[in-house]
Structure formats: C-alpha cells, structure tokens
C-alpha cells in the first residue's frame, strides 16, 4: 500500500511540475492568460494532493486490518464527488449566461479533477484492490 501511495503522490507531483513548467513557458512567451490556466490546473492537483495526504494521515495508526486500503480508497474517491460540486454549479451558471471566460476556467478545473480521479482508480484497481 505504501508503494502505491507514493506512486500516486509522485504522479500528482509530476503533473504539478509539468503544469508549472508549461505555465512558465507561456509566461515567457507573453501568453499570460494561458499561463494562468496552467496555474489553475496545478492548484487543483495541489488541492487533491493535500486531501490525499490528509486521508492517509487520518487512517495512520488505526487498526483497520485489511480494510485500511479500502478506507483510503473510499474516503479519497468521495472527495472527487464533493470538492468539484461548486465548480459544476459555477460551470452551469457560466454556460447559462454565456460567460466564456468563467466557463473555460471551470472546465479546466473539472478536467484536472477528473483526470486525477481516473488515474487514482486505475492505480488502485491495478494494485489488486
């Protein structure tokens, strides 16, 4: 399990570094708005990284036997339903009012969360949960 947690965290760190790097390139290329969008994506990864560490910490030291893995899996997976709720509401509102700028920002946030969720499921399922 420890290996898997580290692998997942490493994946998130890679994605954060990647988006920050692209953001810096955009900034250097005088494409500030696109750089900001990359920063937003990196921030979403940061949020889920923090939550993952928090969920692991909550279970540390608890005698959960074989249920420990499932505990982390379910707790963390649930975050992908709760955290983006307001983003979905904001996206719907933006679409309703033709607010393209806000729409693109919310879509990017949701896409980043969705990508992390899929990667998480794939990793944990692949681990033989």
């Amino acid at each position: 399990m420890r290996v898997l947690e580290e692998k997942y965290l490493a994946y998130i760190d890679d994605r954060i570094a990647e988006h920050n790097k692209i953001g810096e390139q955009y900034k250097a290329d005088d494409r500030k708005d696109e750089a900001d969008l990359e920063k937003i994506k990196a921030n979403i990864y940061e949020i889920f990284r923090t939550l993952f560490l928090n969920d692991i910490k909550q279970l540390e030291g608890k005698d959960l036997g074989n249920n420990k893995d499932i505990g982390i899996y379910n707790e963390y997976l649930h975050r992908f339903d709760t955290i983006p709720t307001n983003w979905k509401v904001a996206l719907d509102k933006a679409k309703e009012h033709g607010d393209i700028t806000k729409q693109v920002i919310e879509e990017n946030k949701l896409a980043a969360a969705m990508e992390l969720k899929e990667r998480f499921i794939a990793m944990f399922d692949g681990f033989g949960r």
Binding site: R31, D33, K93, H97, I100, T101
Partner: protein, 185 residues
C-alpha cells in the same frame, strides 16, 4: 477612444495568442474550430481569447448557420498610437472615468449574473449596489411594499434589509406604505 478603453485594448493585445488570432483574422473571417486548428490551441482557449478581444471591440462575431464567425474590427486599429497619445482628456473626464471604474468593479464583485452575492458592509459600496438595484424601478411609478419586495428579491433574499437601506439612503421614498424612487430618478 477614451483613455480607459485604450488601456483595456492594449492590455488585451499584449498577449501573443491573441495577436496570433488577430493575424489570422486579418486575412479572413474564421470560426473557433478553424482558428484552433490553425493556431494549434484548444477550441476552449480560442473562445476564451475571442471573448476578451470582443469585449474590447477588437473583433466582432456573426452567426452563420451553426457557427459563430469572427472578424477583425478594422476601425479600432485605424487610429495611430500617436493620435491616441495626442488625444486630450480633461481632469473632470478622468475623474468621471475613475468613479465609473470603481462603480463597475464594485458591481462586478458583488453581483454575479444579476444576483447580489452579499450585501457590502462598507457604506460607499452598499450605496452603489442599492443604486444598481434601483435601476429595476420605474421612475415616478408608485409601488406597494409587496411589489418592492418582489423586485428586490430578484436580486437578494434579504429584501427587508435592502428595502430599508434604500429608504435610509434616500433612494426610495415611502409615504403611506407607497414607495417610489426619490425625484423619479
């Protein structure tokens, strides 16, 4: 072009992707997907930039069947930078612009898609949002309290507080439970 508009235009143009979009549009009118393909950017990113360009009047759009076709607004680019610099603005005009900008910012911060997010604590800001709500009232028309509540409730659930504030700020006047805008404004 006002100084304010000039600043907004230049800010908008100081982005390489947006310049690339304009360079494409100077040759021919295009729709989002085609621009995305040509510039190797996501269609959503192109829409994002086009919206900004449209807001400053640099591009215009028209509907053609299923597509929105974008074209460059050449008029905006016809004035030379020297002409813009030479344009004189009075101190009164600058002051009015500053006030307009402040008002616009307050409205943007406190309203979202026509709904008031929360009531500002600061009196100056509160006055601005009350004046904005007052635009929903017709000049010289008399309103019952219920009608006033319904109009204000369209903006915020706490219509009692806002109604009272509008009276205190002398935006609405109340006489025998009948409300109307002060001086029909």
């Amino acid at each position: 072009m006002t100084e304010d508009n000039v600043v907004k235009l230049f800010k908008c143009l100081s982005d390489k992707s947006r310049l690339q979009i304009l360079k494409s549009l100077i040759n021919e009118d295009m729709y989002v997907e085609l621009l995305a393909q040509r510039l190797n950017l996501a269609p959503s990113t192109i829409s994002f930039h086009l919206k900004k360009l449209e807001d400053v009047g640099a591009v215009a759009s028209r509907k053609e069947q299923y597509y929105s076709i974008y074209s460059i607004n050449e008029e905006v680019f016809k004035s030379s930078i020297l002409d813009i610099i030479k344009e004189k603005s009075s101190e009164a005009e600058l002051q009015r612009q500053r006030e307009d900008n402040y008002r616009k910012k307050v409205i943007e911060n406190f309203f979202e898609y026509g709904k008031l997010k929360n009531i500002p604590a600061q009196r100056k800001k509160r006055r601005i949002i009350l004046e904005e709500i007052a635009k929903a009232f017709e000049p010289d028309k008399m309103y019952t309290e219920r009608e006033v509540n319904i109009i204000i409730a369209d903006f915020h659930d706490d219509f009692c507080t806002l109604r009272r504030e509008m009276i205190c700020e002398n935006i609405l006047t109340r006489d025998n439970s009948i409300y109307r805008l002060v001086n029909g404004k």
